[in-house]
Amino acid sequence: MADSTLYKYVLSLGDDALVSAQRLAQWTYKAPFLEEDIALSNISLDLFGRANLYLEYAAELKGGNTTADHLAFKRNERQFTNLLICEHPNGNFADTNVRNLFLDTFHKLFLEKLVESKDKQLAAIAEKARKENSYHFRHSSSWVIRLGDGTKESNSKVQTALNNLWMFTGELFEMNKVDLEMSSQKIGVDREALKPQWKSIITDVLTEATLNIPEDVFMTSGGRDGIHTEHLGHLLSDMQYLQRAYPNAAW
């Protein structure tokens, strides 16, 4: 049986959360100082939790013997449908905070809409994630402001991060077939409609941070179709190693 549109939709949201969580977890034990190490690890943990909620629901929709663990550990790179920005390497501390700011701001708006979903399970997940995301947004936005309005060095690093990551932000607002169908059924969110508000929040943060908003450049995309950057494969090989080397290992 072909996968349902709802399954594909929930899976894509789960993949975004899972890949972001795994990426952020790579800061654990090497953040600039202890409190920040704990903060980034905590945010990663929230995202793993969010991924688990989405993927458990996706597994239920898929039926059969599918579990959330199957979806996380037994799919190949091309079967992952996360947005490219989620898999982007952590880079330096400024790069990570800019990526988080772009995503947290997006989720702030996206989840506010998803709580109104006609699908009760999605609405419940969104309500839970929304509360957690407000902490994440406070964290990433305050760091971008502190770094931007900090020293010449920190300002230049965060500006470079903004310019480098800007090309991944277009994909946040792309509507593919799945999004269009889910949005028309009032199950999913119209991502495109969130763009003006997203830009306005980002502009406010960057203005306070004395940073420049990057000029519009070529926007890259492909994640939802399984066309990824080279970085995802490396991330998955780390994450999936145990289940690949010792299939069905449990403890």
């Binding site: 704990i38 903060a39 905590n42 943990l45 995202l47 939790g49 688990n52 839970k128 957690e132």
Partner: protein
């Protein structure tokens, strides 16, 4: 003699299970247990996660299973519900007092030092040793303390 098991008995048992990370309060006081019902020969226990990624959640569920089995209760089912989402507003004044006694500032609009009650506190990190806590410092008595985040 066979002891009569009622919904109240189940609540009593659940009240004895401490939060694995804040042992001074029980999982009932934390607001994780939402409901206990008796229906069609089974006790239905409904729990809700605090933070979605809270690693203590599966431990709490295991503890519930252990508590039931220790009493020889097998006609029960454990359910998880997400809505309404968990909130610290479900904590009673009494529970907040227990947190304070354990040196953790309870969730509130105004964070106060749990040691000297001073309102002159400063946030060190919004994220503490667990997802539900933030790290603060008291500028009056210099004590560093955990704040149970209002959520």
């Amino acid at each position: 003699m066979v002891k009569e098991i009622s919904v109240d008995t189940i609540w009593e048992l659940l009240h004895k299970i401490p939060d694995p990370e804040i042992p001074s309060i029980s999982i009932v006081e934390l607001g994780v247990v939402r409901n206990v019902k008796f229906n069609e020969d089974n006790f239905h226990i409904t729990v809700t996660p605090t933070y979605s990624g809270c690693p203590a959640m599966s431990f709490m569920k295991d503890e519930i299973v252990r508590a039931m089995e220790a009493e020889g209760i097998s006609n029960y089912q454990l359910h998880t519900s997400l809505a309404p989402p968990w909130t610290t507003d479900w904590m009673s004044t009494e529970v907040k007092e227990k947190l304070k006694e354990a040196g953790i500032a309870p969730p509130s609009e105004k964070v106060q030092c749990p040691q000297c009650d001073s309102p002159k506190v400063e946030s060190i990190s919004e994220f503490g040793s667990t997802a539900c806590k933030a790290l603060y410092k008291c500028n009056t008595c210099a004590e560093i303390f955990h704040y149970f985040k209002k959520f």
